[in-house]
């Protein structure tokens, strides 16, 4: 059993170091933090109001197919692009992993 327990991740050893367990017979805490009031501007930066592509999914498929038919030779580079794109994120993928392990 001991092998699984313990070795808990620690991000800041200070955290919870001085916590005194509450008296089990005491009433639960009813702390209410101050209410946040946004009197500042809350609109997003320009261009960051996200909308949805209004095109119907079916129509989008039709357009995509017809484009492929019209430009059959371009299909190959098209297919490649995602792979190229796919390779680029590798960095971030590795980063993500590194980040994760770095946290522990």
């Amino acid at each position: 059993m001991g092998s699984s327990l313990g070795g808990w991740p620690s991000y800041n050893p200070q955290n919870f170091s001085q916590v005194v367990p509450a008296d089990p017979s005491a009433q639960p805490l009813n702390v209410i933090p101050a209410t946040y009031i946004a009197t500042h501007r809350t609109d997003p930066p320009p261009g960051q109001v996200i909308t949805t592509d209004p095109k119907n999914i079916l129509l989008r498929h039709f357009y995509q197919k017809s484009e492929e038919k019209l430009r059959p030779k371009r299909a190959a580079p098209d297919n490649l692009t995602p792979q190229n794109n796919g390779k680029q994120p590798r960095g971030p993928v590795a980063d993500g992993g590194g980040q994760a392990s770095g946290r522990s």
Binding site: V19, P54, P89, G97
Partner: protein, 1350 residues
Amino acid sequence: MPVQIGGGKVADPNPKGRLDHVAADKDRPSSKRNRRRHKKAAASAVAVAAPCPSLPPVPAMQSLFDTSKEFGIFCLPKSAVIPLHNHPGMTVFCKILFGSMHLKSYDWAKSAPDSGSNTLEASDGARLAKVNTDAVFNASAETTVLYPENGGNLHCFTAITPCAVLDVMGPPYNRADGRDCSYYDESPYMSSSGRDARYSWLKENHSMFEMKGVQMPQRRFLKVIMYRIRSVWFVFGLVNREAKIILFASSRKCTRIEIHLLTPQGLQPMIDVPIYGRIATLELFRPHNETQDFLFIATERYKFCVLQWDAEKSELLTRIRGREVILATDESLFSVTTTDNLYADKRGGAMGDVSDRIGRPTDNGQIGIIDPDCRLIGLHLYDGLFKVIPFDIKGQLKEAFNIRLEELQVLDIKFLYGCVKPTIVVLYQDNKDARHVKTYEVALKDKDFVEGPWSQNNLDNGAGLLIPVPAPLGGVIIIGEETIVYCNANATFRAIPIKQSIIRAYGRVDPDGSRYLLGDNTGILHLLVLTHERERVTGLKIEYLGETSIASSISYLDNGVVYVGSRFGDSQLVKLNLQADTSGSYVEVLERYVNLGPIVDFCVVDLDRQGQGQVVTCSGAFKDGSLRVVRNGIGINEQASVELQGIKGLWSLKSSFNDPYDMYLVVSFISETRFLAMNMEDELEETEIEGFDAQTQTLFCQNAISDLLVQVPFVLNYIFVAFLVTANSVRLVSCTSRELVDQWNAPEGYSVNVASANASQVLLATGGGHLVYLEIRDSKLVEVKHIQLEHEISCVDLNPIGENPQYSSLAAVGMWTDISVRILSLPDLELKRKETLGGEIVPRSVLLCTLEGISYLLCALGDGHLFSFLLNASSGDLSDRKKVSLGTQPISLRTFSSKGTTHVFASSDRPTVIYSSNKKLLYSNVNLKEVNHMCPFNTAAIPDSLAIAKEGELSIGTIDDIQKLHIRTIPLNEQARRICHQEQSRTLAFCSFKHNQTSIEESETHFVRLLDHQTFEFLSIYQLDPYEHGCSIISCSFSDDNNVYYCVGTAYVLPEENEPTKGRILVFAVEDGRLQLIVEKETKGAVYSLNAFNGKLLAAINQKIQLYKWMLREDGSHELQSECGHHGHILALYTQTRGDFIVVGDLMKSISLLVYKHEESAIEELARDYNANWMSAVEMLDDEIYIGAENNYNIFTVRKNSDAATDEERGRLEVVGEYHLGEFVNRLRHGSLVMRLPDSEMGQIPTVIFGTINGVIGIIASLPHDQYVFLEKLQSTLVKFIKGVGNLSHEQWRSFHNDKKTSEARNFLDGDLIESFLDLSRSKMEEVSKGMGVPVEELSKRVEELTRLH
């Protein structure tokens, strides 16, 4: 259209002579006369109404006298009109009983007046009529008689004052005999010489009269104030690792986000952020190139936003109100499909029903997920659609698009870690109810899915949760009810059987994903371990850790401490220990956070009969079920009391200055002073202090230090005798010898009126505006300064607020005549600041104090008002002036200390504790009726206690924690469903049930339990039959029986039945603290609701409303006998009654209004709301207005149209108010959580309390019209200054919204928003004030008054 059962037309008018009297408004400037169809009694009914001068119209009552004549007394309010009508073939006697009215009558013209024209009938059918009478009549006038042919057979009345007229008609109206009442429009008759006023054209009017302008909209204006007792269950506890300090936490499906700090002492609450929406998903993520996490929020109404915490400001722990940068918000996520979008487009235009939406909302809740590599956000909101919001290279969001998702019954979707292309794993159920997982890659360029790397069919039938495992292990854990499975793209497949349980909450412990915490439906916490070798998972292991609240979310925080968020019980902070405790648990509870949700039912109990209720809720679910006693205000728990009449003042003294505890209590009367002391047995007994003058009234008393060099502490006593001017003195008495050390005498001819002191200074005022300042130096009273002010002095104070607790450099003085308060410097008594208070009420008490490090000057007036000012302790400047009303009597202010913090006690007819929270002054009432004087009395026996002088009584009491709401938990370990209070037996009774889970089967046992309403001690229990559920409980009494009973309605819920077909009504008496079953009555369905009704019992049983009589049998026992009923509901779930009226809340047919007719012993429907609302609670606000809550989190009010013109209109409940509360209301009940002052304006405002699934308790207050108008303006002004976090719109959030329509909120105001005015900075307040055209002080006062409603 609403569903109608059996095609029956609702609101069928009763053809039998209902006399509806007329209320019309002629005060409009327009001369167009209002008319209403006036139905006179038909057939042989005789209408008699008591003449009643009061407004509005009084419906006539009927009784049968005679068949040949018809009597009617018509009571008309002022300006009411009975339109022009005829009496064909009838003779009518008319007598005005009181008041005055205008009568105009006609007879049909026999010949044309104008020789030029012979026609008596116009082409449009109008007939010429000759004016008979056109005059004002009153009660002195003779009886007028009109005959079939003359005497003014056609007439109309207009009430000039409220009046009543007696009509005797014979024979009565009878359609069959051609005596039908017709109504006529008049148009002027033009003779050849012009208008001829003696004649008019009368044209019969067949149409329904329109009621333009006649309606007297008696609207109720409602305000919702939600208490901030939120459910603090953090479904997504999210930890910002980098900053390592911030925990984003939220109550899911709720409307607030809380942010707490991780500190060495535990969680420290920082801010509570209201969100204008019900939060559906909440995720933290970090886009590329960003140094901190962002927060993604999506709301149930399809809005989303991404929030960023300003890192710089977030380090300034106390100034978190800093900027927040909102990265992106989405007005309309589904541009085609959501109603919200249409609403947004229509904003500014007319609001109305909007078209059908295309998507079908998911059954299993919205899912929002973010790719671990931050390439896209994925949302599953509608069946068959997966929405993608891609990020660009810079981490900005781009245009979203939908992808068709073949799987329709989706249970969970997660992103997989470590995939080259963003890949989702979908857990779904096929149409044979088998469950599978499947993976898809998201092709962002093609905007489509590509089949993913793997899938797994035929999982555990209870599989419901996916846990993606971080790289490098990758893959996913699938949690079932009997097995846990791990699988990944490399076809690694590991499984482990578990004891059958439902696991819905998990929390990752290690960043590499090798350990997870799992919480199941019984509150057991497990640890799941992935054993692995070189990035390959080799096995699964599950270990028992211990029991917590039933977890809805689990967040590993730091250093082995875990936050367990619970929807069903209190949330907990737990520590994972290495060693098991004696019970075998590795879990130690560090802290519990109160959660009242789900509030299934509650009752309001006014224990002390003070008009202040406390709410007892049925809270929590399953094993975490409990009763919670919620009380507002601060309680003083009396420890001792003694009868003492005529107390004029009260002070405590220590036996030496350095003693931590008080020893003496000095009680002053009009002509004497008595001294009480704590003796060795910790009892108060009377004593003597020789140096004091006991034969006079004391004005002030205080321990003093003498000189710092002299180590002998002293006691001061200032004595004032009103009638013996020479005896005016200040006495300095030694603590040790109790003898007089020094004395200061007032100049001859002057009497000390008011005095104040601290340990080293004395300030006193005598008549004539003399102000004397003394200091205690070398055990002597030294007169340092004496000035004369231009007016009499009404109060003084020199409580030290600076660094030196024994010496003040400022004094406050209140003045008569110019009604001002002045700040003087000490010791020179120089005027530093003068503040005129305005008005004519003299300040009666001033106080300098420091609360939470902020210095204030408080100044209380003789009429219960209190001014507060921020005080600059060095310059004496006053700012931020505010005025509140605490009571109606003079207030006296005194500081006291509780748990090391200073607060202020305001003694008055409404005693109040003034305290500071989050640097803001708050006012909380005390559960005492009237307090004349108070002083802190901190003794060893009862630390931190207060001595309180009430009328005729001195008491010592301890004070609650200083906070606005007090919640007491009574754990049940089972779930309470219905509760009610019985004052007579001093008990509470509730229906509850317990889950019994054995290895083979699950079952429930249902109970009725009885407990003491004061001690909450369990008294008695009654177990219901197998499968029998308690559905309703009330306390009631019956006609001809003085006993009070508990009535319980039940249902037999059989697994094979869709709706219960059998139930019982059980009638219990409480005898010797036990539940005694007196009567039981079987019913043909579930008894969803019970009401005491006219000495009978009204039950809602499935589709039917049923009335039972309480009948005495021959053997002396009683039985319930069915009297009458009313069909026509889908399921009548909620009933409320008032007089003979019954309001029914239906499962899906909104609200209907029924009436019980005594004579006919029948229940009939009067009116209904034709909207298809699925109700969750109803209540009658008054006779006319009813409030309902429905399952789309809206509340609305409907109004009885009793004065409408047509039966059709009367049969319709008019919707007058609509509001999106954002909370699922389970119960609405009349009551108040605060004490009501009968003579205050606020005391007149009726309130209804509601309780919700999220554990919110709130109140709805019906405001007077002018106040509503004022506050509505304030709300619309505030919206311009207080922005929605994430740019979400308040207007849209509060708009009434369900599947069928979205419409603007009306006749409801958002109390929380209005009260946030008090949290604004002074400059913002001033801007709001400018926008409103109302001074800040006035605004604060009115909003502050509102806060005292709850």
